[in-house]
Symmetry: D2
Subunit: 340 residues, 4 copies
C-alpha cells in the first residue's frame, strides 16, 4: 500500500481536525468528505485543501473504490451502521468514541470488522498525549512496581450546550469513558467492579436529562489494584487532566500543560496562567499522532494502537458506572449481561 | 487562671513530644507525668526537664489538686475511663485520637465531659498544619465558591509493626480517621454516606488481622459535595499528605513538604529530595501549635479548637467505612445505630 | 499581494525547517531552493515537497521574477552580499542571525534594504517562543513596573563541532547574540555598557580558537536597569533557556519546557525528565510562528516583527562584549567606533 | 566543660533571638545580658527567661568569671574592641557579621583571638539554612562535577530605615556580604576578582548616602569558575533568596521557602502565597542551628563551623566590590592593599 486514500464522514469540528492532520502526512491523501449538511461552505473548505469530492451521502463515499480507509466523525448513533457498511466495503476504519451506547451493538460492529478482515482504530486520543504516554511507559517498565492505586482527574472548563447534554448518553458514557480507557491504559489491567456516585452541582439542566455534572467513580481492577476517577463538567480555571499511578516501588504523576512557564510575582502573591483551555489545545499533538499512527500502521501492515476491544471495554465500564449510579451500589462488570 | 499546670498520662513518643512542646510555653507548666512502666529512665527524662513528679498510677496523677489539665497519651483502650475520671476530678483534657473504637463509649466520655463542665481537645494535629489550615482558610473565605469535590491522599512511608496492626482497630479507625476529620475540616460539612473498598497489596500480615493496607473511600457530604480518600500503608518515597478541594469558583490544592527546595539536574534527569519522612517531621510545628492553642484557650477561657464532637463524628465515619468495606456496599451514617 | 512566492537560499538544517514551515502556510509558496551543494538528494527532497526549482547558484534564484521574497539560510559570510543582491532585485528578505560580524558591513546591508524599499526580518526566533513572548507581554503591560534587573540563562546541551567553533565568531557573536537580542526584547530598552568575562572550562578546543565556552556578561541599560547573561556551551542536563525580569512592582520568570510533566517518586527521590533537548525541539513552534508572521505581514503590508536594526544592535552588543572580554574592562557601546 | 555559660552583649532584635534560641539548649545557660540602653523593659524580659543579670556596661559582663562565652550583638563599630576585650578575658566569642568595615581592624581582632587561644564564630546564619546546606552538600559530594558558574539572588522585601542606611557601610558591606560568604561556601573556592555595578532605582535616599539599592556583581574564583550576585533592596513580592551552582556534571538550584504549598486555581489563573516574609521567618531554623552548633562545638572541643577567616574574606570581597563600583572597573582582591 503506497499512499492511503482517506474518506472523511462527518465534517464537524473533529472531522476537520483529522482532515487537517492527515493533509500533513505524505503517506495519506484525503480524497473525499461527506456530511449531511454539506454545502458551499464545506465545498470551499475542501477546495482550499485540495479535497476533490464533497458528498452528502456517506454511503456514496464508502462505495468509492479509490478509498482505502474512512474516518467516522459523525454523530454517535451513526457509528455502528457506518462501521458495518465500511467493513463490508473492505475499508479500514478510524471511528470516534464511543462506538455506541449499547454493548450488543458495539459487539455487532466489532464482529463485522472481524469478518471483513479490516482494521479499526478508536479515537481515544488521550493515549497519544505526551504526559499519559509517559505514565504508561513508566508503569510498563516496572519503575513503580506493582500498581496499587490509579487516580484520574478529568474536568472540563465548562458544560456542553443543553442540546448536546440531552443526547450525550450521560457523563459516564460521554465524558468519563475517556477516563475508563485511561484507567485500562495506564494500569495495564481490566476493571472488574465499579461504584459510581454523582450529583448535580454545576447546572440543574443536567438533572432535567437524568444526568449528573459531578461524579466520582471507584474501580477495582483484575490485578487487585484500586482506582478512582473524578469528573466535573465545570472547572472554572480550565481543562484539568491529571493522572497518578501509585505502586509498590513508587508513583508517577502527570499534571496539566500550561501555555507558558511564566511565574509572575507581585505584592499580591505569585501567579501563573491557567492550563491550556480545552481538549483542542491540550490534545493538539495527540490528535496529530493518532492519525499519523493510523496511517503508518496501515501502510506498514502493523496492528493499530487502539482497537475495537478497547472501545468495547470502556463502554462496558461506562455502562456499569451508569447502573451503579442508578442502583446506588457497586456493580461488577460480570453482572452486566443480567442487569441489562 | 495564670499558669496552667499540666499532668501527662502516658510517656510514650507522643506524650514526650507534647511535654517538650509544653515546656516552651511560659503559660504552661508540666508538673507530673505518669506511665505504667515508669522507672529510672523516665525519672531521668523528667528531671532534665524540671518535671517534679513521676508516677505509675494515672489515678494518682488525676487526683492531684495542683493539676489543671491532663494530656491523655496512653493506649486507646484507656482513653474513655481516663476521660471520665479526669472530668469527674474537674480537669481539662487533651486526648489523643481516637477517643475509643465504640460510638457508645465515646458518647459516654463526651457526656462525662459535658456534665463536669470541663473542656476537651482532641489530638487531630493535622488541623494545625500550615498547609491544611490554608486550605480551610481559602475554602472558608469563599475563594473557591461552593465545595463540589474533596480529595485527600494520605500514605505512610511504611507499615507499623505487626503487634500494632493487631490492636490498631484497622486502617479506617487507626489511619484514615485523620482523613475523615480532615474531610470535615476542609469541607465544613458533615459526611452522610461512605463507600469503602480496600485490599491487601503491601503485606499479607494485614490480612491475618482482617485488615487491609490499601483503601479508597468515597464520601457524600450533607451539602451535596462528593469526596474521596486514598490510603496506603507504604509509600516507598515517603509520607504523602495532600489535600485538594474543588468548587464552583476554583480549587485549592496542597502538596507535600520537602526538607529543602533543591533541584538537581544531571544527564540522568532532574531530581529532588523525598518529602519529609513521617508525621514527626511533617507535623512538628502542628504539634507545637495544637498544645499552644490548648493552653491559650484555657488561659483565656476561649472554646478549644477541636472538640469532643469532632472525635465522635470522625469515629462514626470510620465505623461506617469499616462496615461498608465488610458489607461491600455504601453505608449511610444514619444506618449506624441499626447496623451496630 | 496574493500568495507570497518564496526562494530559499541555503538548504542546510535551518533552511529545510523554514521550507517545511512555509509549506503549511496557504499564503506562501516555496518555488525555488538554491544550495552550493545541491544534488540528487536535495532534488528528491524538493520534489517530495512540490518545490519545482533546485539551483546551485543563489544569484540565479534571486534573479527569478516569480519570487517575492528570499530566505537567506546560507553561511554568515554570505549574508551581506546576498541581502544586497536581493534588495537590489526588489525581494523581501528573511535573514538568519547574525547579518555579519562587522558593524560596517551590517550597516551597508541595512542601507541597501532601506534604499530598495524592501522589507527585512531577522531570524531571532526566540522572540516568538511562548515563554519569552509572555515575559515581554507582562513587562509591556506594566505588571512588574519599571524594570530593574534582567537575568538571562542560556546554555547549550553540548558544544558544536570544532570546525564550527573556528568560524563561529566566538561565543558572544554566535551564541550570546540571541541573549543580547532577548535582553533588548524583554526590557524594551537599549544596552549602553557591557562587561564580559569568560573562561574555558568545558573543552580546551575553545582556547585554541581564542574563544571561551563559559561566559557571564553584565549589562547596563539606557533606562538604568542592570542585566546579566550567563552562557555555557555544555549543560549536560539539556538545553537551559530561562529569563527573569525584576522590577519595581514584581518579577516575571520563565523556565524550561519539558517533554512531559511526569513526576516519578521512588525510594531514591523524586525525578522528572530533562528539558526539551535543544533548539529544534524547544523552538519548534517559534520557528513556525516567525515564518507565519513574515508571510502575514508581507501579505497585509504590515511592518515585520524583527527588523534590521535589531540585528545591528545585537551585533553591536556582541562586539562590545568581545572587546570587553579582551580588554578586561567594561565597554560602553558609544566607544565602539573608536575601539574598532 | 559541662554547661556553657553565656553573656549576651547587645539586646536588640538579633541579641534577643540568640538568647531565646540558647534558652532551649540544655548545654547552654544565659547568665547575663548587657545593653547600653538596659532598663526596666529589658529587666522584665530577662526575668521572664531566668537571666539573672542585666548590665549596661559590656566590660562588666566580659569581666565576670562565671561566663564562658559571649555573643556580640551590638552595633558593628563595637565589634572589634569587644572581640579584643573578650579574647583577652579568655572568653569564646560569637560575633555578628561584619566584624568591621576595615580589613586592618578585622585582622587585629582575629590576631587577638589567635593569641588568646579562644574560639570565634561569625554569624553567617545562611550557611545553616536547609536549602543552602543542601547545595553545599551536593557540590561537595561531586554530584555536579567541577563548578563552572555560581548564581546568587538576594533581594530584601523592603529597604531599611534611612538612619540605618547612613551607617550601614553600603549595600556591598551590609547586604551583599552574606552573598559573598555564600559564594565561598557553595563553591568551595576563594574569589579572586570582582566587578560591581549598581544603581539607585528603588529610593533616592540611597544616593544621598553614596549608596545604591540595586546591584549586580560578577566574580572570578580561584578555581576558574565565574559567579554573579544580584541584590535589590526591594522585592515587593517578598524575601528572595536563591542559589544555583552549575558544573561539569549538572546543576543544583534552590529557591524560596513559602508559608505553605497551596495552589489556588480560579478563573483568574493560578496563584500561591508569597515567600516567607523576611530573614526572621526564612532563617528561623538556621538561627537555632548556628547557636546549637556553637554550643555543641565548644562543649565537645570541636572547631567552630564559621570562623574568623570567613569574616575576613567576605569583608575583603565586599571592599573590592565597593572599590570596583567606585572605580568602574574590575578589581582583583590582590590589589586591595595598594588600593586602600
Amino acid at each position: 500500500m503506497n499512499q492511503i486514500k482517506i474518506g472523511i464522514i462527518g465534517a464537524g469540528r473533529i472531522g476537520k481536525i483529522h482532515a487537517d492532520n492527515l493533509l500533513r502526512l505524505p503517506q495519506a491523501k484525503v480524497v473525499a468528505v461527506s456530511d449531511l449538511f454539506a454545502g458551499p461552505e464545506l465545498e470551499a473548505w475542501a477546495a482550499e485543501r485540495g479535497i476533490g469530492t464533497v458528498l452528502t451521502d456517506s454511503a456514496e463515499l464508502i462505495a468509492r473504490p479509490d478509498i482505502d480507509a474512512v474516518f467516522i466523525c459523525s454523530s454517535t448513533d451513526t457509528h455502528v451502521p457506518l462501521i458495518k457498511q465500511a467493513a463490508k466495503a473492505g475499508k479500514h476504519i478510524f471511528c470516534e468514541k464511543p462506538v455506541s451506547m449499547s454493548i450488543a451493538q458495539t459487539e455487532e460492529a466489532l464482529e463485522a470488522v472481524r469478518e471483513a478482515g479490516v482494521k479499526l482504530q478508536i479515537g481515544f486520543n488521550r493515549r497519544f498525549d505526551h504526559n499519559f504516554k509517559r505514565v504508561r511507559e513508566i508503569v510498563g517498565e516496572g519503575a513503580i512496581g506493582e500498581t496499587h492505586i490509579v487516580k484520574i482527574t478529568s474536568r472540563d472548563p465548562g458544560p456542553p450546550p443543553a442540546d448536546y447534554i440531552k443526547v450525550s448518553g450521560g457523563i459516564f458514557m460521554d465524558m468519563m469513558i475517556h477516563d475508563f480507557d485511561m484507567a485500562r491504559f495506564v494500569s495495564g489491567s481490566e476493571v472488574e467492579e465499579v461504584y459510581a456516585q454523582g450529583n448535580v452541582l454545576v447546572d440543574p439542566v443536567f438533572a432535567e436529562h437524568g444526568d449528573v455534572d459531578t461524579a466520582i467513580v471507584t474501580l477495582r481492577f483484575a490485578n487487585g489494584a484500586l482506582g478512582v476517577i473524578d469528573n466535573s463538567r465545570q472547572a472554572v480555571y480550565g481543562y484539568d487532566q491529571r493522572v497518578e499511578v501509585f505502586g509498590s516501588k513508587g508513583s508517577v504523576a502527570v499534571t496539566n500543560d500550561h501555555p507558558n512557564t511564566a511565574e509572575i510575582s507581585t505584592s499580591e502573591g505569585i501567579r501563573k496562567d491557567k492550563p491550556l483551555h480545552f481538549f483542542l489545545e491540550r490534545y493538539q499533538a495527540a490528535y496529530v499522532e493518532e492519525t499519523q499512527l493510523f496511517i503508518d500502521c496501515l501502510a506498514q501492515g502493523k496492528p493499530l494502537p487502539v482497537e475495537g476491544n478497547d472501545a468495547l471495554q470502556a463502554e462496558r465500564i461506562a455502562l456499569a458506572a451508569k447502573l451503579s449510579s442508578r442502583l446506588r451500589r457497586p456493580v461488577k462488570l460480570s453482572e452486566l449481561p443480567e442487569l441489562l
